[in-house]
């Protein structure tokens, strides 16, 4: 907290009147830095460090693009992807690729995310990949974590028998309370899936596997209904059950990358909703199960976790992507699996060599350390190149986020600020 006088002094770079004690505090907090220090270099160092030296490698695998549901909002449905399923040869190539890259990345932990489509439509591929990578990694002293992102409707005891030894956690989704969910997340015959998902969650938690439930909501009342139902079903008392919430977006995937206004509105709504939502979570005693980035943690040196080295998305065709929203769309592929290895193309190098400190707008932007130049894919979509910025709504919301955070953390001092 600074008063107007201090703000003026800082903005005008005039520190002669400050006491030693004040200067020390400002220096410790890096609000003042030594004359010789080029903060751009510090930022560049941290940016490259975060981008290039990830301690773990992530492989997002699409065993299939097909799905047994017909959810109305699914972006994969609207983008008319084929229902391609990974064949045996591609499974073998995927396994070799994981081994090769994990070794090259010198990783200590391999994270496999089984994604789709509905990955459990190809259980054989899921099991084989988990099994072979795990036994290989074990010999080399690497750890393997497997995350299964599934709609839950195919998560039978038999499937769990095969996969449970490898699963670190299972990610499930509900689209609000049952009455809403069953009109959105539906089987192809139109019937709802809520009850089946709950039964699956029961089976997973019973085996001691961690469940992360994504709860899509329109408002705090939706969350109240879902959490109340989950409490009645006894999940609040279970260990290893976490959840996070997201508001239902009103637009599809192509708009996500091209329509800044819709994204802005979405984010604004999410921010506005958040205090009331948190109240509901507290009231229903679900706070300790909440696992999502806090309001200030959204900000990072590198804009997207998938823009980093050691991130690979592999689709059923055996193509390599960096952005998993683009899997299956060949014009965005970053490479292709060939026998025993992967061949990277220009998109891979362009994306990895992206550095916002080379963009004029970013070099002098005070928000750069929070934003990392914005989404590379959005920049590409809007300007035809990865080597440009995509500001998104960072500037619009950074201040609001900080104030909301402070109000929550120090209500006595910030009640009137916002």
């Amino acid at each position: 907290m600074a008063d107007f006088e201090l703000k003026e002094l800082l903005e005008n770079n005039k520190f002669d009147d400050l006491t030693e004690e004040h200067l020390d505090v400002l220096k410790t907090m890096k609000i003042l830095v030594d004359d010789g220090l080029d903060e751009k270099k510090v930022l560049s160092f941290r940016y490259c460090k975060e981008k290039y030296s990830s301690p773990y490698s992530i492989f997002v695998i699409f065993p299939t693009l097909a799905c047994n549901l017909a959810c109305k909002y699914c972006y994969e449905r609207t983008s008319e992807l084929s229902a391609r399923t990974m064949d045996e040869k591609t499974v073998v190539n995927t396994i070799s690729f994981i081994k090769k890259m994990a070794a090259e990345d010198n990783t200590r932990t391999i994270l496999i995310k089984l994604y789709g489509g509905e990955p459990l439509l190809n259980v054989a591929a899921c099991t084989r990949i988990c099994e072979e990578v795990s036994s290989w990694a074990q010999q080399l002293g690497m750890q393997v974590a497997v995350v299964l992102q599934t709609n839950g409707t195919l998560l039978t005891e038999d499937v769990l028998d095969a996969l449970a030894p490898y699963l670190t956690y299972v990610e499930l989704t509900v689209d609000g309370p049952q009455k809403n969910h069953d009109t959105i997340r539906i089987y192809k015959d139109g019937s709802g899936t809520y009850q089946d998902i709950m039964s699956a969650m029961e089976r997973v938690t019973k085996r001691g596997i961690h469940t992360a439930l994504r709860i899509n909501i329109r408002n705090e009342d939706d969350l109240r209904d879902v959490l109340t139902d989950l409490t009645e079903r006894g999940f609040r008392e279970k260990r290893g059950v976490t959840f996070y919430y997201a508001q239902t977006s009103s637009f599809g995937l192509c708009e996500l990358f091209s329509n800044n206004k819709l994204c802005h509105d979405d984010e604004e709504r999410a921010l506005e909703m958040s205090p009331a939502v948190r109240e509901v979570i507290k009231e229903l005693k679900w706070m300790e199960h909440l696992e999502m980035p806090d309001i200030l943690q959204k900000q990072k040196f590198v804009a997207c976790n998938n823009e980093k080295k050691a991130r690979y998305v592999i689709d059923p065709y055996g193509d390599i992507y960096l952005c998993f929203f683009r899997a299956g769309q060949k014009e965005y592929r970053a490479g292709t699996l060939t026998e025993g290895e992967g061949q990277f193309g220009s998109m891979y190098y362009e994306m990895l060599a992206r550095n916002p400190l080379q963009f004029e707008e970013c070099r002098t932007c005070v928000y750069l350390p929070l934003c990392g130049g914005g989404c590379a894919m959005r920049a590409y979509e809007q300007s035809g190149t990865f080597h440009t910025n995509s500001c998104g709504s960072m500037k619009d919301f950074a201040e609001k986020r900080i104030l909301m955070y402070l109000k929550r953390k120090y209500p006595d001092r910030f009640e009137k600020v916002i």
Binding site: D34, S44, G141, K309, Y349, L352
Partner: protein, 457 residues
């Protein structure tokens, strides 16, 4: 398809060698092909030839931006080297008085690490090793003569070995020593923690003793030979640095003959590394870039003499010979293995450096270790780590960039006053010579006598 921007065309007697500095590929081509590549007229080539060119990176797909590829390789190498490397100077003191030692001229204090600095340094290193999340750790103990301070040397080698084992990190320790103190109890104690030893010989006994002597003037040759006999019985990789003075190969030959007689030419754990000793004033790059280049050229030509010398005396372990013209290790997008993340050079004062030959020269330090192993980094750390040759106009379009990486950052600072400038050094002048010399040794039939053995100076 287009020609790679990283092709270097080297004429031989009747054809050309294309050396791709990004992939390290070497390809013999005729004049017509060279011209097609240089002019980027590749459409008419048949598919098999095209395929061959792209496989070796001599031609690339049109949409590939090789600058981005280089940038990727460079950044990856700087920020994610596969292992953590620690170089420690337990002491600057030495039990010898060699007249050419660079550390002697620098009026460096003969200080040794105090218990407090040793403790701080160990705490710092343990923290970094965990934070780096590396799968392997290389510990190099350097000096001065590290064995003058056996307690610190043992703490680093044995202590970090144990620490690495506890955390499932692969460990390699190396010791650079003059060889005179590495024996007896110390040898027994340290050997289990050492994968490689570096020892220098300055020539046959008389010459060596006139250069490498104890402070009382007695020579060290006999003592070093005793140490080598001990090492010959182990599996410790023993790298013998053999200095060649004033281009005099006759003395080198008598040294090799003596080593052979002692049976060391059969030791498969022994390696030979030849070095030309440079005069002190030649280190001043600002004045002597020409001489610097000349020395590098001499080093390349020396490979031929060394090769024929070893051949004529039937040196058994030829696998262990390192030639100064070996281009196989050149594919290095970052010129120096030290100017990267996960590299820590710590001197006996607890100062942190990024260049081992500048350790002790305070103006080159990049940080300092304080109490509880907490480090303070200074501006030069960020200057060096964020140095990217693609920011230098002269490097952006240079075909040698992938084997040069913008040159040595410290030389650049010495020559231009700033780390963030390029230092071409001798790369442009000697790369062709090294390639030809290398090809003549390993593929003499393909060189068809085209390359003349350099005449002895």
């Amino acid at each position: 398809m287009k020609s790679s921007k990283y092709n270097v065309y080297i004429p031989t007697q009747d054809k050309f060698v294309v050396y791709n500095t990004l992939t390290g590929s070497l390809l013999f081509v005729d004049e017509e092909m060279r011209s097609a590549l240089e002019k980027n007229q590749l459409e008419k080539l048949d598919d098999t030839v095209k395929k061959q060119l792209t496989t070796h990176g001599i031609a690339v797909d049109d949409d590939i931006d090789e600058t981005a590829v280089y940038n990727y390789l460079h950044t990856k190498e700087v920020y994610a080297p596969s292992y953590t490397s620690v170089t420690v100077f337990p002491t600057y003191a030495c039990n010898l008085s060699c007249h050419y030692c660079y550390q002697q001229w620098q009026d460096m204090s003969k200080s040794s690490m105090t218990e407090q600095v040793l403790k701080n340094t160990m705490e710092f290193l343990k923290k970094r090793i965990i934070e780096d999340k590396s799968r392997a750790l290389l510990v190099k103990v350097f000096g001065g003569e590290p064995l003058v301070h056996p307690r610190a040397t043992e703490t680093f080698l044995a202590g970090l070995h144990q620490f690495a084992d506890q955390h499932g990190i692969e460990y390699f320790g190396t010791l650079t020593t003059n060889g005179t103190l590495f024996r007896g109890e110390l040898f027994e104690k340290l050997s289990p923690h050492i994968a490689a030893v570096h020892i220098t010989l300055d020539g046959p006994e008389a010459l060596h003793n006139s250069i490498r002597f104890y402070s009382d003037g007695t020579g060290t040759y006999a003592d070093i030979m005793e140490t080598l006999s001990l090492l010959g019985e182990t599996s410790i990789r023993t790298c013998l640095r053999i200095n060649i003075h004033d281009g005099d190969y006759t003395t080198t030959k008598s040294l090799l003959a003596d080593l052979r007689e002692r049976g060391f030419s059969k030791c498969t754990n022994f390696e030979l590394d030849f070095g030309l000793v440079v005069q002190q004033d030649k280190c001043d790059l600002q004045l002597n870039v020409k001489e610097y280049i000349a020395d590098k050229e001499t080093a390349v030509t020396s490979a031929r003499y060394i090769e024929s010398m070893l051949h004529s005396m039937d040196w058994e372990n030829t696998e262990g010979v390192r030639y100064p013209d070996d281009i196989r290790m050149d594919k290095a997008p970052v010129i120096c293995d030290q100017t990267k993340r996960r590299r820590y050079i710590i001197d006996s004062f607890g100062d942190i450096y990024l260049c081992p030959s500048k350790a002790g020269e305070k103006e080159y330090k990049v940080g300092r270790i304080g109490e509880n192993g907490k480090a303070t980094w200074i501006h030069s750390f960020y200057d060096i780590l964020t140095r990217n040759p693609l920011d230098f106009a002269e490097c952006t379009h240079c075909a040698y960039l992938p084997v040069c990486g913008g040159g040595c950052a410290v030389h650049a600072k010495e020559k231009n006053g700033s780390y963030t400038t390029s230092f071409c050094g001798a790369v442009k002048q000697i790369t062709s010579q090294r390639v030809l010399s290398y090809l003549t040794r390993y593929y003499p039939e393909k060189m068809g006598g085209a390359h003349q053995r350099p005449a002895r100076k």
